[in-house]
Amino acid sequence: MSPLRRGVAGLALVALLLLSACAAQQGSVVLLPERGGKSTALVVSQGSQQVSLAEPYAAVHLTSGGPQGYRSNAEEVQASFAAALAAQPLPPTQFTLYFVEGKDEFTDASKRTLDGILAAIAERPVPDLLVIGHTDRVGTDAYNDTLSRQRAEVVRNALLARGIAQDKVVAIGRGKREPIVPTADGAAEARNRRVEIQVR
């Protein structure tokens, strides 16, 4: 979704300096509303002068007299940045598939997740995928390194079988080093038996 479709927040950033007639324009910076709705901020420095941008559409003109804050808006951003924004790649998405204990078979629920992965791949002209296998903390490092790698390969092979080119998919295993749910060593935990797939 375009960030420009979001509403403009009510607060205006106060202009820090009056624009002097001779201040040569050296560019501008506009903070955009963030898709996730999280708080955002940007600090623009010119020499010793700084302006913080903390609200959507807070902006500065860069001038020979230093940064000069102003308030932009969706229309102005569209007028100046339409081509740059239209060229923005799709944001990467991440999926997680879960596995049966001690095996490289994924659970029934995760078989359905595979369809979502294929849809995300189909949306992208040049998809690249990183497939990362993990285990829970039952067993030795050596055992889990192999198992995590096998799980990643199972997912990679499932994607190749559905027509994804093999040079687009990198599969790696991280063993039991990165549990989602922290547990004691030796503990079985379904949420840690997973493969993460990043589609970019």
Partner: protein, 135 residues
Amino acid sequence: MLAATLTALPALADVGQIKVAKGQVSVDRMGQSLPGQVGMPLQAADVLKTGPDGAVGITMRDNSLLSAGPNSILSLERFEFDPTTSAGRFDAQLQRGTLAIVTGRIAKQSPQSMTVRTPAAVLGVRGTEFVVAVP
């Protein structure tokens, strides 16, 4: 063992990839000008240039998205990223043109690890989406 696993993967040595290209796009690398095409892997120190009808969109390995409009010059000055910890360093410079940015895992992990420069200013990122223009 993890390091050995990672260095064996050529795809992880690239810093990013061109995902969108319109009109005239070129990449300056080690003194050569290469045509910028969709799917092209990018390296640290690459300089992307767009013509009067050009635009380019790239996805970096930390999931940062950068896209430049026409008549732009964008340098990927420095990019280091550890995919396990998300630690790294990303410095880019817009010398001319327009640029839209969605920051990625490097800025999320450590906001001061990403800066975007213009010839006149330095933008310190605090985890965000923004646009920059340089005449």
